[in-house]
C-alpha cells in the first residue's frame, strides 16, 4: 500500500533528506551533545525496574506482549522497551498524579462523564490491578498471568477491557485503560522516554519523528514521504 512495508529508508532517500531538511541537518550537528544527555536504549532483559517488584514486572511484560505483540506486522511492545517506559512513567509526575487535583472528597459512584474521580494515583492502580489480576489468574488457571498461554492472557485482558472481570480492590477497567494507554504511549513516544526503542513504533506507521520541517512536502499530493524517523537525541533509522 505504501512505503511502510519497508521500515528502512533507501540510501537515496537519506541523501535527499540531508540536502533538503534543515531540521535533520540541525539534529545531526547537535546529535552528539543530545545523545550524551539522554540515557542509551537499555536491554530489557537486564533492566532493573524501579517502580515494580519482580512479580509485577513479569505481569507487565506479559501484558505488554499481548497488547502490542510481535507479529507479522513487525516487532512489538517488548522489542520497543515499552515496559521500561511504563516503569519510568510510574516513578514520575504521571505515576504519582502530581499534576492532578487529588483533594477529597472522592465520589464513589461518579458518572464516567466527569472524568477520573479515584483517590488512587496511576501507580497505585497498577500495583492493585496487577495484584488482583494475578490472584484471579491463580484462582482460575492455577498460574499467575505471566505463565498463561497467549490466548488465556488475551482472555483476561479482554475481560478487564470490557469491564466483565471485576477486581476486588481496584476498578479493573480503569487499570486496563491506563495499561493500554501507557503501552501505546511507550510504543510511540520519543525514545528519550525509555520506550519506542530504535523508533520501532514510528517506523511501523511511517511517522518521521522529530524531523520538524516539511515545507517542501506540503504540495506533493499522494506522494509517500520517503525518509525514516529521527529522534530528539539525533538517532536515525
Amino acid at each position: 500500500m505504501s512505503k511502510k512495508s519497508e521500515f528502512l529508508p533507501s540510501r537515496r532517500g537519506l541523501l535527499k533528506a540531508t540536502a533538503t531538511t534543515a531540521a535533520a541537518v540541525a539534529l545531526a550537528s547537535r546529535g552528539g551533545s543530545a545523545l550524551a544527555a539522554s540515557p542509551p536504549a537499555v536491554d530489557l532483559k537486564s533492566y532493573a525496574p524501579v517502580s515494580f517488584d519482580a512479580d509485577e514486572w513479569r505481569f507487565l511484560l506479559a501484558a505488554c506482549d499481548r497488547l502490542i505483540p510481535d507479529d507479522d506486522t513487525g516487532p512489538g511492545a517488548l522489542a520497543a522497551n515499552v515496559p521500561v517506559f511504563i516503569d519510568r512513567q510510574m516513578s514520575g509526575d504521571f505515576g504519582h498524579a502530581r499534576d492532578w487535583y487529588m483533594k477529597g472528597p472522592f465520589a464513589k459512584d461518579a458518572s464516567p462523564l466527569l472524568g477520573y474521580q479515584s483517590p488512587l494515583t496511576p501507580a497505585e492502580v497498577y500495583h492493585l490491578g496487577i495484584k488482583d489480576a494475578d490472584a484471579y489468574c491463580r484462582d482460575t488457571f492455577g498460574k499467575p498471568f505471566a505463565e498463561l498461554a497467549p490466548e488465556q492472557r488475551d482472555q483476561v485482558l479482554a475481560g478487564l477491557d470490557k469491564g466483565e472481570l471485576k477486581l476486588p480492590n481496584v476498578d479493573g477497567k480503569a487499570f486496563f485503560t491506563f495499561l493500554l494507554q501507557n503501552t501505546k504511549e511507550g510504543f510511540f513516544a520519543d525514545p528519550i522516554h525509555g520506550g519506542n526503542k530504535h523508533m520501532i513504533g514510528w517506523a511501523m506507521l511511517g511517522f518521521p519523528g522529530a524531523r520538524g520541517a516539511y515545507l517542501e512536502w506540503v504540495d506533493q499530493d499522494n506522494v509517500p514521504y520517503p525518509l525514516g524517523p529521527v529522534s530528539l537525541s539525533g538517532e536515525r533509522r
Binding site: L67, I68, G74, G76, D99, A107, L113, K184, A189, Y214
Partner: protein, 590 residues
Amino acid sequence: MARTEKPVDIVLIGLGWTNSIIGMELADTGLTMVALERGENRDTVPDFAYPRMIDELTYGVRYKLMLPPAQNTVTMRHDPSGTALPYRSLGSFLPGIGVGGAGVHWNGHTWRPEEVEMRLKSYVTETFGAKTIPEGMAIQDYPVSYDELEPYFDQFEKMAGISGKAGNINGQIQPGGNPFEGPRSSEYPNPPLKGTYNCRLFEKAASEMGFHPFPLPAANASQAYTNPYGMTLGPCNYCGFCERFGCINYSKSSPQTCILPALKKKSNFSIRTKCEVIRIDLDKDKTRATGVTYVDEHGEEVFQPADLVISGAYSYHNVRLLMLSGIGEIYDPAKKTGTLGRNYAYQMTGGYSLFFKDKTFNPFVGTGSNAVSMMDYGVGQIDFGKEGFIGGSIITSAQYNGQPIRSLDLPAGSPAWGSGWKKAAHEWYGHSMSIASHGSNMSYDTCYFDLDPTYTDAYGQPLLRMTFDWKPNDIRMTQFMKAKIEPIAKSLSPDSLKASFKTENSHYDLRPYQTTHNVGGAIMGADPKTSVLNRYLQTWDVHNVFVMGASAFPQNLQFNPTGLVGALTYWAARAIREDYLKDPRPLVQA
C-alpha cells in the same frame, strides 16, 4: 499580614494575549504597569527551542505547558440539582499557564464573527420572530457592533500577521475568499498558507457542489512578516507541532513572537512571574479597587496597590476572581438574581473521518491552521425558522499533525489492541483526512458558573463550579451539519467513513479533548441587569476594574474566539487610553 509593594498606576492580572496587548497599547502613557503572572516566564529560546519542544508525550499528552489541575481547576456538574466533582485531570479543555498563556499553545485559527452574531438576539427576533428562541435560552446582543469593531479586528490581524484571503473588502466580494464574511477594510497582512492534499480534495469537492471554500485564516505566517510593533515572524515550516506546543520557528503568532520583546523594552512596564493573584481588593464602599493581593513564589501574600486593575486571566479564571473579590452579584438561576457567572457556553463540534486505501496524506506535514473552510452553513446563512434551531458552523478540512499517540485515527470497528490493532494502525496511518464542523453554542439559564461549596484550591479558596450540558437546540444544529457534510465526504468516495457527532442522547463528556473555547460568565452588555461588563469591558460595579477575554461573550460564536478577543482588547485599550485615563469614571451610565 500581607507585605505591601510599592504602588503602581496599573496592575495587569495574567500575561497572555490580552494583557500583552494592553501593556503595549498603554505603554506610551508613561504610567507604571506591572503584570502578575502565576506561571513561569517563557521565551521562544530556550523554552520552545528545537528539538526539545517537539516531544509529543511531554507537551501533547502530559500537558506540560498547561495549568495543572493540582494548582487550580473547576468542578463540573450537568444540571443545577447535581453535585459537582472536580476536573481532576485534563481532558475536554486545556487552560494555559505562564507568560504567553494560551497564546503559546493555540492552533492559530483567527476569525472575525459574522455581523449577525454580534447582534444575535435582535437578528433572530427581527428575522424569524421572538418565538424562535426556545424557553430557557439566554442569548443576548453584544453591546458593540461588527462595524464598530472592524478597525480593531484589522489591528489585531496586522499585529498577529494573519495569513488568509479576504472575501469581502469594503463590500466588494473577492474571489477565493469567504463571501459571507463581514466587510473588511483591507486584505489580510499575509497571503494564505499553501494547504496539504486534503485541503485540495475538500476544496474541489465543495466547489463542485456549489459551496464557497476558502483558506482558513491562520496565525501561522506564510512568509516573513514584520508587524507594527517591529516584531518579525518567519515562514512556517509545517513541523506538525502547533497546538499544545510552543512554536520552534517564530512562525506562530503569540505574545512571544508578536509583542513581548517589544513590550519588555518599555521602562514603565515590568513582569512578576510565579505570582498568583487571589483577589482584587476594594475600598470600604466596594465601588473602587485599591489593588490586588497575590501569593508570590515563596508563598508570601503581597498587596499590590494600583489605581487601575485589568484582569486578563483565562476566561473562567476572570469569572472566579471577580467572585472571590465580591465584584458583582453571583448569578442564581432559581431566584433569577445576579449576573456574575451566567451565560457560560462552550463549542459544538463534530466530524467525519475519511479513509482511503489509495491516498497518502503524510499527516505529519501540518500546521495549526492548515485548512480549507466553508461558511455556507454559518449562523447568517441558515433559516432558523425552517430548520428549528439557532446557530451555525464552519465546515473545515484540516491537517494539523500526525502525532501517533493522539492523532492515530482508525476506521470504525478496528480493534483497540493486539495484532488486529497493529495491522490497522500500519495500514491506515497516513491514509485518512477529516471534514469537521466547528459550531456555535447558545447560552442557557441553566449553564453557568458559581463557587463550589466543597472543593478548594491550595489557598483554601473555593473552586469555580461549572454547570453545563448540551441542549436540544445545539444537538439539532450539529445533526444538521452532519447531514450537510455527509454528501461532501461521500463525493470523495472514501473506502471507509466514520462519523462523530453528538446525538440527542449525548451529555457533556469532560474526558475527550473538545476545545479550549470556554466563554461567558462575566458577559458584556448594554444593561447592568443582564451583564457584568459594559461595552468597554469595564465592570458596571467597580469602574477601575476592566476584564479582558472571552468571559465577555454572551453566547459562543461558531468560531474560535481569539479574533474577537483580540479586537475587543484593542477596542477596550483605546477607550482606556483616550477616555478613561483622562477622567476615570464609569464609561457608560447605567
